[in-house]
Amino acid sequence: MTKRSSETSEHCTRLAAGVLLGLLLVPLLSACHAQARRYDTRVEILSARTMGGQHGKAAPSLVEFEMRFVDCPGDVRRVVRGDKVLAACAGGLKVGEKVAAAIDFSYDRERENYRGDLVKLGACDVKLDPKEDANYETVQVCRDLKASGVVVGVHCDKKREGELVEKCPWLRRL
């Protein structure tokens, strides 16, 4: 084998090793996740209900809010149910009121996706029970659906991408 072909062989071997190393790095890089951080935003209270409390004679034991994130594009809503501590603190929030909220955004290794937990509502600290089935979130960006220039229905995007996660990064899940 000539000297030139030997050099070429060495070069190609290095190249192949580099490609293989790169392929091995892909899963390692994909294991990196954005750091946990807190986001401040605003929500509009759409409904507020207290439960328990025996006809107003005792403090309510539960409170449930439906809220809309006013700074996010589209229609981003969340229903949260809190315990008596939250009921006592946030029970005075009125429907239509816009209050500050804080979201803790982090990666959930168990579920292998991101999550955004509401941790502050107005002046109240929020600690939601992760096992509470009543808590949920709906995200959609809707527009009129037209055919031949006439509105014939509605189209709602459900994917969390683009402007939605740019303005409200805590909505990202993958």
């Binding site: 949920y136 709906t138 709602c156 994917k159």
Partner: protein
Amino acid sequence: MVRRPSARSLSIQVAALIMAVAVMLYASFWRGPGASEAYAAPAPGAAPGARLAPASSAGLAVSALPDQPPAPVAAKPSDERDGGASRDPIDVAEAVDGGVPTHTGESAYKSPFAVPNAKPPVKIKVGMLLNSIDDYDIKTGRYNADFFLSLTSDVPMPKIRLSFPNGKVETTEPMADKSTFKLYRLRGDFKSPPNLRRYPFDSQELKIMVEDDFRGIDQVRFIVDKERTQLARGFRALGWQVAYLEARSTSQSYPDRFEHDDLIYGRYTFTLSLERYATSAAFTVFVPAFVIVLIALFGMWVPPAQMDVRSNAGAPMLAAAVLFHFALMQELPATSYLTRADKLMLGVYVSLALGMLSTWWMYLVEERNQGKVFVIARVVVPVLNVVVMTAACVV
């Protein structure tokens, strides 16, 4: 000293080539018995656009082809708005010269099923809450849907007999049945033709179509209730992510079934778009294909002195590619086009064939030139493989 290949090695090469050609032909042209589209053929004897009688007294209609749903069944309605006392539209139509009775006055429609000089149609807002989609079969495009359907109007609506052109439901008994509000909890089997051109990065539209079985737009008009077009909380479709949902109200005429069949019918269509998870698709289809090509490429580094080893490097990978492609095809229905996965696998076969060709080239040249072929092949084949696989992924 350079060794010539053994007879066994050559026979393996020839067998591998035959398999590759067979698989390419198989992947390109054979896609199931007699089906040219990604959809189940209609049942024998079912003519396109054929009218179907109601499946039961509940007024169910089942289509043979979703893209060509049957025209509404023109049964005799009993109009609740006038207490059912008036005659049916067809009874007041006249057949002057015999044949099909028609409305001859200033009625907008001549069809005997249109109401002559009808009052303005009742506008019915249709709301849909989809609870779940189960048992989605990409091969047939069938799925089971569970949903709430609400009908709301400002004025009393005539008797509504729901029909589902692309499926059938178990029952249409309403949960609420008032003259201006009706609520149904429905569960049934539906079908929508899958589009697999982008498989495994495909997205599918699952539709639920709703019509009134016999009333045209001269009597009822469906309007989408935008605020009440939703998915249930916690909605999941296993293995898929929801891309969008859509609801539209359309009106359309059907091919003439008889003379003066000019009545236009309204339809409400709910569409759920599902996308396959890209990461899952990449790991289940693309990664194995690229691993096969990469491992086969290692054969390019086997020198001419070990020709037998080199010539046998491609055969196991070809067998792996064939089995992998076959497994992929088992998941899909017959299509008249190549899916993205098919194109990728064609790229794999071409890549493997390039490796084999380089080895055969060594057989054909003089022994003193085998070193040159070795060097050329080691550069050219990987480059061509990159080009081929890139093309297979992009085209």
